[in-house]
């Protein structure tokens, strides 16, 4: 019997090939039919700082959450062991570089001073010395198997055998760590080779050399093969996507018929635009589809305004950004609201305020998105719980934007953006492109015709059609007007479109309930907490608490009726909200929009993902005590 679920950490210096390792291992696992989700934690702009990949693997499905402790820690350097040794469960395994055994925690310059003294204190409390060898002793005492290899010997051999330039060594260190992980998990070398081939693609030499590394690792660690063997995969994957959240959204934008994307580079949004740049011109069965114009503008003000311009010209357009960039876009969003311009803003939240934690996640921009921009006008905010949801929701965002002629904010976050997962292929049969285009009526064209809430939208340049756009209040033609009666009608039209959205968008796309109703509690959240929330609901059922998870997908207009209906059915008892923020602001939004009081709140704002172990514990605490607010903070 092996493991049906297993969690591991790969750690090393930022910029040392860790991302490559994650990609190789994920693809090798997917190739053999395992489900994988892997979160990437890294420092901003500081090369050499400790970064790590936290991965969950399952033989049954795509895992939905990350958890501690882990079964396996694969370290590229001493700092990784010092930082994570407490995360390895007893019976687990540590793989490390033998050459750094003498390294002391006090000798590692890249560790932040406060963390270094905390680790030194912990080691002292355990009666251990400050060097790596002592930590190995502590781990062995806890029943952890420690497996060392000399990286120096392998790298030296590679340099001599292939004449490799030392500048490219990290590509082979990633070979060492992926090979050792694969060996321990009982993956075969063919699967591993497939991983190398997919990641190094055209660079055949790199594949060959990494296979050589794998052979060396296999020779030396033969006796440990399958020490943490995974169960034979039972997933029903025939084909899966192995992709990040950024990738999935980009793919969905192509499917949705995107023709213009603007961006100013910002973490963690830029990768989406980089992906789209690769497919500016796509060929399907010999026919060129597209093209998509992707423009890197001088700033986010230009990004939103050029996307609005493309929208006025009649194409599907969007921009992607994060908090600091979004703040610059809000005047443009207000202009889009005034001019009823459909545009999609894909907003990947990260830790704020200001530059904050550029490479860490958060959900602290909920209220800022729902209430962004001056003046009153219709605007829609959508969120997505996981990679697959993000695919369908991206298409939905364009459909809503065009049908109702308004800006749509698709509110995602770094956790989704930067995590890689095995994703079942989206069902394209479910995808509908609804542009909401109405024929332009004969006669004099009125862009802002008041006969209906949604006026016929003609693209700029339509022959024989004239229209005017201005930031000022305007009449039906678009001419500036300050006349009070027109003001009232035009103002109301722009807002009342929200009622249509509220009435016409199916409830299932606004709010989704998971689990059997009629239980003991209702956990409510939105966005990327979905996976861990679902797992926590399952986990806590084993402790005797039955409950549901309510995933609020449409954040604005808030699905008031739908939420009240769910809460009414569950008797309004024991409602707990969870969010990556200080305030757990979804509770306040629900209070404002639906008049419900949610006192119990679970908050995390370290920028690190909420893990299953801590959420289950926090949930249990809110259910079994008078404690209303639990702040969780696990993870380095």
């Amino acid at each position: 019997m092996g493991f049906s679920e297993l969690s591991l950490i790969l750690g090393g210096p930022q910029g040392s090939g860790l991302e490559t390792s994650m990609l190789v291992l994920s693809r090798a696992l997917a190739y053999r039919g395992y489900g994988v989700v892997a979160d990437r934690e890294y420092y901003s702009n500081i090369v050499g700082r400790h970064s790590y990949i936290h991965m969950s693997i399952s033989s049954k499905r795509t895992p939905r959450s990350l958890t501690y402790p882990v079964k396996l820690l694969v370290s590229m350097d001493a700092e990784t062991v010092f930082t994570h040794f407490k995360d390895i469960e007893s019976g687990g395994v540590l793989f490390y570089d033998k050459d750094v055994r003498a390294k002391k925690v006090t000798e590692i310059p890249s560790i932040e001073e406060s963390l270094r003294s905390r680790i030194a204190r912990d080691l002292k409390a355990l009666g251990a010395g400050e060097d790596l060898e002592s930590v190995l002793g502590v781990l062995r005492g806890r029943g952890v198997t420690t497996i060392g290899m000399s990286f120096q010997e392998i790298l030296r051999d590679l340099m001599k055998t292939f004449g490799i330039d030392p500048r490219s060594l990290s590509r082979y260190v990633s070979g060492i760590i992926t090979s050792s992980a694969a060996l321990l998990l009982g993956l075969d070398r063919e699967a591993l080779k497939y991983g190398f081939e997919r990641v190094f693609a055209a660079r055949a030499k790199l594949v060959e050399q990494n296979v050589y590394v794998a052979d060396s690792v296999w020779r030396e660690l033969k006796s440990y093969e399958g020490l943490l063997r995974l169960d034979y995969p039972e997933t029903e994957f025939s084909e899966v996507l192995v992709a990040t959240g950024n990738d999935v959204v980009a793919i969905a934008k192509i499917v949705a018929g995107l023709r213009y994307q603007s961006y100013y580079p910002i973490t963690p949004a830029a990768d989406e635009s980089f992906f789209l740049e690769k497919y500016e011109v796509s060929e399907v069965d010999g026919t060129i589809v597209g093209p998509i114009v992707v423009i890197q503008t001088e700033d986010e003000i230009a990004a939103i305004n050029s996307a609005i311009g493309a929208s006025l010209a009649g194409v599907r357009s969007s921009t992607a950004t994060s908090g600091p960039g979004f703040d610059l876009m809000v005047e443009g969003i207000s202009w889009a609201g005034m001019n009823e311009a459909p545009v999609v803003i894909t907003y990947y939240q990260r830790g704020g305020p200001s530059t904050g934690l550029p490479t860490r996640g958060s959900q602290s921009d909920l209220l800022s998105s729902a209430f962004a921009a001056h003046g009153e006008f219709a605007k829609v905010v959508l969120s997505s719980g996981d990679h697959l949801d993000a695919f369908y929701d991206t298409v939905l965002a364009f459909n809503i934007a065009e049908k109702y002629q308004l800006p749509v904010i698709h509110l995602l976050d770094k956790f989704l953006a930067n995590s890689t997962a095995t994703i079942p292929l989206p069902d394209l049969g479910r995808v509908r492109i609804e542009r909401g285009l109405k024929p332009v009526p004969p006669g004099t064209y009125k862009r802002f015709n008041l006969e209906a809430l949604i006026s016929p939208r003609a693209p700029l340049g339509t022959p024989g059609v004239i229209m005017w756009y201005t930031g000022d209040e305007h009449d039906e033609f678009g001419h500036i007007s300050e006349e009070p009666e027109n003001r009232v009608r035009m103002y109301s039209k722009r807002i009342e479109k929200l009622k249509l959205v509220d009435e016409e968008v199916p409830g299932d796309l606004k709010l989704r309930v998971y689990g059997d109703e009629g239980g003991d509690f209702c956990l409510i959240g939105w966005g990327s907490v979905k996976g861990v929330a679902l797992d926590a609901v399952d986990e806590i059922a084993k402790r005797g608490f039955r409950g549901i998870y309510v995933d609020v997908k449409m954040l604005w207009p808030f699905p008031r009726r739908e939420l009240l209906e769910v809460l009414r059915r569950s008797g309004f008892g024991n409602v707990v909200a969870v969010e990556h923020s200080y305030g757990v602001n979804i509770a306040d939004l629900a209070a404002m929009a639906a008049g419900v009081q949610i006192r119990k709140r679970i908050a995390k704002f370290t920028g690190r993902p909420i893990t299953l172990s801590e959420l289950t514990q926090a949930l249990e605490k809110t259910l079994t005590s008078d404690v209303d607010r639990v702040v969780i903070s696990y993870g380095g």
Partner: protein, 99 residues
């Protein structure tokens, strides 16, 4: 007497993350710190000061830091391993993030 191996040679340029391996500045090849050859030249303070004058900086392997003046060099040289320069890994550029 300093052991005559690459790790102690002034012409050894350590890899920025894995200083046990690096480049020989004489032969321009990959070597490990435990290798040796007959061109060994100890990384003495004079050699390093010389390099500082020529290159404008030297590298402290222990601290992972670039040193740019004599005072600094002398302070680090007491207990730290110094080199003329480090080998910067090419993956750094690929993984460094914009913000």
């Amino acid at each position: 007497m300093v052991e005559e191996r690459c790790g102690n040679c002034v012409n050894y340029s350590p890899h920025v993350y894995y200083p046990q391996v690096g480049r020989c500045l004489v032969f321009s090849t990959g070597v490990s710190e435990s290798d040796s050859c007959d061109k060994f030249k100890r990384a003495s303070i004079d050699e390093l000061l010389n390099a500082l004058g020529g290159e404008g900086s030297v590298y402290c392997t222990t601290c992972g830091a670039t040193l740019v003046d004599e005072e600094e060099l002398k302070a680090h040289s007491r207990n730290h391993r110094l080199a003329i320069r480090a080998v910067i890994d090419e993956a750094i550029a690929e993984e460094a993030r914009a913000d």
